[in-house]
Each structure stands twice: as C-alpha cells, then as structure tokens.
Symmetry: C2
Subunit: 404 residues, 2 copies
C-alpha cells in the first residue's frame, strides 16, 4: 500500500523534523544549546501543580476530572481567560473562548478552517516554523506580509488570485515574535488590520509570548485594537487571538486558548469535537487552579529571571560578535535573531559549531516560507543560565570570527 502522493507534497516543506534530527546531537556532554525555544523547567510551579492535581483527584471529584467533558473547554478556565483578556483590553464572554491543546492546535484548526489548496496565507519572512508546519498540511501558497512597507492591498489580492485562490488570513506574532524577538508598534498593528479589512480576510494573532515583556510599554493586542475600532463589538472582529499557558505555567500540559467571534468559535468547537473530542479535563482543572492562585506573581518572577538572561545574551553578543554581524534587541520573549554577513550559511556554520565548539542554535532558513534567510540564525536565551550564555556567545563568536 503506497501512502497517498499528495501527502508527501503536503509534508515536503516541513523542516522541523530535519532540525530535530540535527538537534539530537545536543545530548553530547558539554554542549551549550540556544536552539530550542523552551521555558526553563526550573521555573515551573511544580508544587502548585502537585496540589492542584491532588485536589482534582480527591474523592468525589474523579467523576469530573477523569471523565469526558465538553469540547469548548472547562468553564471556570474559560471564565478565567475572559478576565485575563479584559486586562489586555479585550472584552469577551466564555462563548468567545475555546480551550485548545496548546496554541499549536489552534494554528492547525485555523489552517483547516480557512485554507483550501492554493489559497494564500500572509506570513512574516521569517515566521514561526511551527505555523508553517501547521498550515502546510492544507497546501496554501504563502505571501510575505509586509508591515511598514508600501505594498498595496490590490497587489496581495491579485497575486493570490493569479495563484488560484484568495488571501484567507494574515498570521503574525506581534509581541516578541518567534524567531525575531520583534514587537509591532500600535501603528503597525493598525496597518495589519487595515490590510486584512481591505482583503476581507482573517487575522491570526499568535500571542504565545505576550506575557513575557521585560521592558518597554505594553502594546494592546490586535484584537483589542480592532474591538475598539468596532465600538466594542467582538462579534464584528476578524482577529482571532491564540493564547497559551506553555510559556508561563507549563508546556507539557498542553493548554492553550482561542478568543474570537462566536461564529468562528462555534466552527472551531465542532472541529475540535471531530478531531480529539476535548482537551484533557484534568489538565484544564489543574491549570485553572494554578493560574487562579498565582499567575501574576509567578509570571512576574519569570519575567525577572528571563530579563537577566536576555540582558546577559545581549551583553555577550556585544562582546563577542565580529563586525558585520547584527542582532535584534527584544523587549521580551525568548529569542534573539542574528543576521550574519551576506554569503555566510548558518546551516553550514551549525555543523561546525556543534563539532568544533559544542554550541547550538537554529539556522534561520527554516523560518522562511520561501527558503531564503541563509545568513540568519535564532538564539534562545530562556533555557540557559547567565554563565552558560556568556560562554556560549564566546564560542559562537569564535566560529563566526573564523568564518568571516
């Protein structure tokens, strides 16, 4: 039995697995990795979770916590998210919230909801490679979402039509973007909303890192800005907000959420019911208890810790990068994006870095829908201590200096 040919095509642009192969080398002793964009497990509120799971499994509660539940998600958690969103400037009701298995699942479902083969998705150049992986299964065409550049809406639309489809959504992570670390200004966010309105397409706002701001002024989510434009009417909004507890409380529990107008949520609920029935009941109950008890102080401590690591990485880059190398200065999140001189290939450099210096990063090319970006790379500072960061940037500097 041959696997269907069309599936091979759908998967051909998935580079995450190739990267993972390479990253298996990371288990070598002495390796310093700035590759994985993962939280530091030392900061997980494990004790609080132990208590929450114990409570949820105490006598009399198993009939809820271990049983099937509704596809929309655990109501008290959706209510908590309603309050959380209110603090970000979004007014919504539990009917506007769907609990997903991480925000990755939201991206998969939104691809499934909107994309037919040949439709266009507007994405950053670069963008989150997991978003490309999720969308690829639905065989879209990608076009570059240009923010702050002079590109007419008609150009997007006619290019999409020429490819045999329509622009179905713009996808972006406006706060401390993965991989660039960059944040869009309010004006840039409004420009994205204008573009989407002109194209009558959705906006997928990936807010994975939203809670991890280390300095600078918070910027309202696109969904809040759009809701304000529409006199507070969430039902009139085209923005679909994807949040997650993965970067703040625990990624391993796989709990995220979507906030959108009820027609979108209703479709996603049907989709989730058909695709995995619901996210684990117990995990939602435990996340709710822990979020309710300590979200604010926990994330404040987290920001403090990650801020020091970001600062350590920025200082070490300043000290060790050779001339011609530039990098972003993110106000939050987990990533710094490095641009090497033209002509250097980060994937080739990675092989040398692993072998000669035992230091790892992610070559930037994987984040570009068109395969460009050879001379870029992503560094994560979230999962390394300050001393490791200093030593790691020293090693990276040696490799780059010898490559120049």
């Amino acid at each position: 039995m041959a696997l269907p040919a069309q599936f091979a095509t759908r998967m051909s642009r998935m580079k995450a697995s190739e990267i993972r192969e390479l990253l298996k080398l990371l288990d070598q002793p002495g390796m310093l990795s700035f590759a994985g964009g993962i939280p530091d497990a030392a900061f997980f509120p494990a004790e609080a979770f132990a208590g929450a799971f114990q409570d949820a499994l105490s006598p009399g509660r198993q009939a809820q916590s271990l049983q099937y539940s509704v596809s929309e998600g655990y109501l008290p958690l959706r209510q908590w998210i309603v309050s959380h969103m209110a603090r970000l400037g979004v007014t919504c009701r539990p009917e506007n919230v769907l609990i997903t298995s991480g925000s990755q699942q939201a991206l998969d479902y939104l691809g499934k909801l909107f994309l037919s083969p040949g439709d266009t998705a507007l994405v950053g150049w670069p963008t989150y490679l997991g978003a490309l992986a999720a969308f690829n299964a639905y065989e879209p065409r990608y076009d570059r979402l240009r923010v702050g550049e002079n590109r007419s809406h008609a150009e997007y639309a006619s290019a999409a039509e020429a490819a045999g489809g329509r622009v179905k959504f713009a996808y972006l992570s406006p706060d401390f973007d993965n991989p660039t670390g960059l944040t869009l200004t309010p004006a840039e966010r409004l420009q994205v909303l204008d573009t989407a309105a002109a194209l009558d397409c959705a906006v997928i706002e990936d807010a994975a890192y939203q809670g991890l701001r280390y300095d600078g002024d918070p910027v309202q989510p696109l969904l809040a800005l759009e809701q304000a434009q529409k006199a507070g009417d969430l039902e009139a909004c085209r923005t679909i907000y994807c949040g997650t507890f993965s970067k703040t409380l625990s990624p391993g529990l796989r709990v995220g959420w979507v906030v959108a107008s009820t027609p979108v949520i209703s479709q996603l609920v049907l989709m989730k019911q058909a695709a995995d029935l619901h996210s684990p009941t117990l995990n939602q109950i435990a996340i709710h208890q822990v979020a309710d008890a300590l979200f604010d102080p926990h994330t404040a401590a987290l920001r403090e810790a990650y801020r020091s690591r970001r600062d350590a990485m920025l200082a070490a880059l300043q000290d060790h990068m050779p001339p011609g190398v530039s990098w972003t200065r993110p106000e939050g999140g987990m990533f710094i994006w490095v641009t090497l001189p033209e002509g250097l290939n980060a994937a080739a450099l990675l092989e040398r870095a692993l072998a000669e210096e035992k230091v790892a990063f992610v070559p930037g090319q994987a984040f570009f829908a068109d395969g460009s970006g050879e001379n870029t790379l992503r560094l994560s500072f979230s999962n390394s201590q300050e001393a490791e960061i200093a030593e790691g940037m020293t090693r990276l500097g040696r490799i780059l200096t010898s490559a120049n």
Copy 2:
C-alpha cells in the same frame, strides 16, 4: 469577513452537535439516560491516578513531566503498549507506536493522511458517528463496507473512480462495534483484509472496546491476522490499529495510541508535531504508571461490572419490548443496537421519550453515512446501574408499545 464556504460543506454532515443539543435535556431530574457511550466514573482508578500524578510531580521530576516532549510519545508508555499488543498477537516495536490524544485524534490524522476530496472511505452502515465526523473534514465519499455479503472488489473500485477518487481505506471497529455491539468473526476479518488487499487500500482498525469482552472467545485483531499472513512482517501490513485507554482507565486524560508500519507512523508523527506538538507529557507518564500497576486486575473488575449491566439490559429488553422490535446481543463493549418496526422514526420517538417518560437513547440515523436507519436506536448500558436499566427499559417499552 465571511467564513469560507467550503468549510460549511465540510461540516454539514456533522450530526454529533445536533445530538448534543438534544442531550442537554438530559440534565432534568429523574431522567434515565442510555445515550452517552461513556464509562462509569465510579470505576475510574482515581486513587492510583492520584498517586501517579503525585509521583510524576515530585521534586526533580517536573523537568520531564511539565516540559515539552517528543511527538511520538513517552517511551515507557510505548514500550508498555508493545507488550500489550504482543498479548493480542501483534509483534511490534516502539517505533511502530504513536501516542495520540485519544483514538479520536488518530481518526482525524488518518483522515488527513489518506483522504482528498472525492476519495472513498469504506465504512459500516451504521458506523461510529465520531469517525464520520473526523473524516468529513476531508470531504470523502462513503461507500458501504459489506462484510459477509457478495460484493466484488471491482464494484467498490469502479464506484470510487466514478466519484473521482480512489478507495483509500476501510474503517471498522471489529470488537463490540459502536453502535451495533457486534463482533466480526475471524473469517469476516480475513474477508476485510482480502478486500483491502484487492483495492490496495489501508484498513483502520478501531479497537476502542477491545478490552471489554464479557463472554465468548477473543478474536485476534485484524492487524494480528494480517501480520500472520505476512510471515510476521509488520512493515508489510496495511492495517492501522487504533487503541485507547478511554474505556479502561480514563477518557478525560485523552491518551490513545496507533500501531502501524513505520512509514505510516513516521507520517503521523510529523502530522502530530505540526498539529499539537505532542500529547500531554504528564498524562502519558501517569497512564503508564497506572497501566503498569493495575491494568489487568482493573479491567477484569470492569468487565465483571459491565457484564452485569449488559445482562440486566438484555433481560429487561426481553421483558419490555413489544413484538416487532429486535436487538443485538453483544459479547462486550457498551452498546446494544435496537431495530424498530419499519416506519417508526427513532428521532421522533426520542422527543416523546424525553418528554413523557424521561428516558434517553441515541437515534440510529446519526450513525449512517447515507442518513438511513430511521428505525434504529442505540442504547448504552455502561453508565447505569442494574435497577436504572430495568426501570429505563420499562419506560422505553411503554413508549414503543404506544408507538406501534
């Protein structure tokens, strides 16, 4: 922004949500429901789970249990499944196992893997409505899988071609089928394998109820029969086995698995990585600990309890059904399938049953891909005590007697 038109089509055959609306009436006091196909929460091994979660969250283990993990699933759990499958007659390795978020997720992924719009899926008439819901998103055509009937392979193939696609798989639940409760004989299983071989298509074996046999001799899974045909070579097998802990340990934790040849598993792993990264780490660790400690004695006790309920329902049906009503006598699982006299409409009867007798069931029509089966209904005996079953069948008998 209008939601894409093609999506409305994809969802139009999803009846599960309509049924759910109706079932919201079930919260009325005094209602006896035989509708939901859910395990009795009183039997969940809650204490064992409380211990397992506590262990997994004990100091030093959070770095594993709350962190991101691999898409394939937790290795010790995959190893446990390898042993479990060996006892069912299937020889496999951990590389042949993918952990999914319930077997529902496996059905979604397999639809995504195999189906392009217009392709044909062979299913039972009736079949599990959640399978239809999962596959519908990929816009297949359905054809009736006829087991024990005289239908040539060429007929399946030419009908599929006429519809613009190919037969991509046969889907079936060979043990105590949902909704019929019926079990395929070894000869019938071999016939399905022959049909699939002639059509060069996959076989999706949904083994959700496999562990719940109350009497009669166990029948080997299709995957075991096929592996025997192929001299033990799992890599040559077209059968894809979908298992779950939902009916034995807990549905709310959402842990299931797929066993198949490595090319199929590799594709599904890529798909899972793109769709939700991985199933919750902690849940997999806890399920492994509980399964390892008590799967056999726990499922033995469960079979004992459910057997009594099945027997109670069969006896009560015998006592209370009017002439012209027939039903299946399942050797396991959770369901009895009832056929009413031609011309009766089970959906209309349900409205009367809820209003007049406070008794609930699922009208059978939802389980037919062609919308037939108006005069059928599904009863679940798993979540009701014997006295409730006796009273419920008395009520149902009254409604059916007055309807005749």
